[in-house]
């Protein structure tokens, strides 16, 4: 599964960068986050309760950061296990770009999902992932005291 997107957040780049690296901000932004710990500067462990439709699955996972360029971009690899429900793993790249009215957060993600969740949830995995990403950015923007600006409203410079 691939999930690519961009979100405009009404906050300057250094603030967005700081937020993305602050586990307290992340804890409040990740939907269903129950526990999050930074084990090493580039390793984060988390427990997340996913609630989508009929599914309630608790995932324990870890996140490894790499290629970190401050205020610009980073890559991350993640894997999580939800016991009987299944597992997810993949990698993601995040880039921050200056934009009118704030910071454009661009992300590309490649993930694979297996186990029961993959078998019966396959039909709506993409839609679910998009919903989780949207929820995350909404909460994240609120944590930074800003808001998400709908991209259609942004004048493009091209």
């Amino acid at each position: 599964m691939e999930l690519n997107g961009e979100q405009l957040i009404a906050a300057p780049i250094p603030e967005v960068w700081k937020g993305l690296n602050d586990i307290d901000v992340l804890a409040k932004s990740i939907p269903g986050c129950e526990e999050i710990n930074r084990i090493a500067p580039e390793e984060i462990h988390a427990k997340v309760m996913f609630k989508i439709g009929p599914v309630r699955a608790r995932f324990a996972g870890k996140l490894l950061l790499s290629d970190i360029v401050e205020d610009q971009s980073c890559s991350m690899a993640f894997e999580g296990s939800g016991g009987a429900a299944g597992f997810a793993k993949g990698k993601s790249r995040v880039e921050l770009k200056p934009a009118d009215g704030g910071t454009l957060v661009c992300y590309t993600t490649e993930a694979s999902i297996g186990g029961k969740l993959g078998q019966i949830g396959g039909r709506l995995i993409s839609a679910s992932a998009k919903k989780i990403a949207d929820d995350f950015f909404q909460r994240f923007a609120a944590e930074l005291g800003g808001e998400i600006i709908p991209l259609e409203d942004v004048p493009t410079e091209e």
Partner: protein, 284 residues
């Protein structure tokens, strides 16, 4: 696989059911037909502590005609809708849609209210309720409230229902003699979830359609109303060119989400195919 252990209660009235639900909070799940919930429990994708079986609650049963509205209780099964004379006469779109829902065994048990409350974007009833301007009647410990179908489906599997709410029934304005409709879905096999579907309703006056409602389902996170396409068609004489333009408008305005087997482009194409078929059928 078998489900994890849970408690089971079967209240005899709506008040009792609401009380039990308020008490147990988010750990409780309501069960009626169980056609989605039981599979989820057995796969252990969800482990609620208590199931509240609402199938004895009289207030949730039956299809009744009340003046200019049809009231469909939340516990009415898909088969009851398929076979009801009141539905055939006053909400024929539902009769046309019912046979598309899964298979007979599932239609015998699965319920109208269950399908609406679950809010699966591929399901038939959420799309039909939007096309027919349905109103959801919802009870909570603080009383009754009414929510238009257009405000009910919020996001993927997300409705405006709160954890202590019970969807009691739905009211649908009855069809008059000028109503035309079309229900179409494209699925790989009959009974599968649709790759794309359309519930269409309009009033027909000569060569014109007015008060058009085109609801596409199984293409996005919720059923999607084609507002621009509806206004484009509304009140104009229907001809080949208008249909071509409408198909183009619908393909542009409906924001489809790809799934694992169908690309966004494929779904977008099917949106147009469905609309063209529906318009031709409604004008025939």
């Amino acid at each position: 696989m078998k489900s994890a252990a849970f408690d089971y209660v079967k209240p005899g009235s709506l008040t009792e059911a609401l009380g039990l639900l308020a008490e147990a909070g988010e750990d409780a799940r309501l069960i009626a037909g169980g056609q989605t919930l039981l599979a989820t429990l057995n796969m252990r994708l969800s482990e609620p502590s208590v199931l509240i079986d609402i199938t004895n609650v009289e207030e949730l049963k039956g299809i009744t005609l009340d003046g200019k509205h049809l009231r469909i209780g939340a516990l009415v099964t898909h088969t009851e809708i398929e076979e009801s004379d009141l539905i055939a006469k006053h909400a024929p779109l539902l009769k046309a849609a019912a046979p598309h829902i899964a298979h007979r065994a599932i239609r015998n048990l699965g319920t109208w209210g269950g399908s609406l409350a679950y809010g699966d974007p591929a399901a038939e009833w959420p799309a039909c309720s939007l096309a027919l301007n349905a109103t959801m009647i919802i009870h909570s410990p603080s009383g009754e409230r009414r929510v238009a179908a257009s405000d009910f489906f919020i996001d993927l599997y997300t409705t405006s229902l709160e954890p202590d709410d019970i969807l009691v029934a739905t009211e649908i304005p009855i069809a008059d003699s000028a109503q035309v409709f079309c229900f179409q879905e494209l699925a790989r096999r009959h009974g599968d979830y649709a790759v794309a579907g359309l519930a269409a309703v309009a009033q027909k006056q000569g060569d014109m359609l007015t008060q058009c409602k085109f609801i596409f389902f199984s293409v996005g996170a919720t059923p999607l109303m084609a507002g621009k396409t509806q206004s484009w068609i509304d009140g104009k004489n229907l001809n080949e060119q208008l249909i071509v333009d409408a198909v183009k408008t619908a393909r542009e305005e409906i924001e489809v989400i790809a799934d694992l087997t169908n690309s966004a482009e494929a779904k977008q194409h099917l949106v147009g195919v469905l609309l063209e078929r529906a318009l031709k059928q409604m004008m025939a």
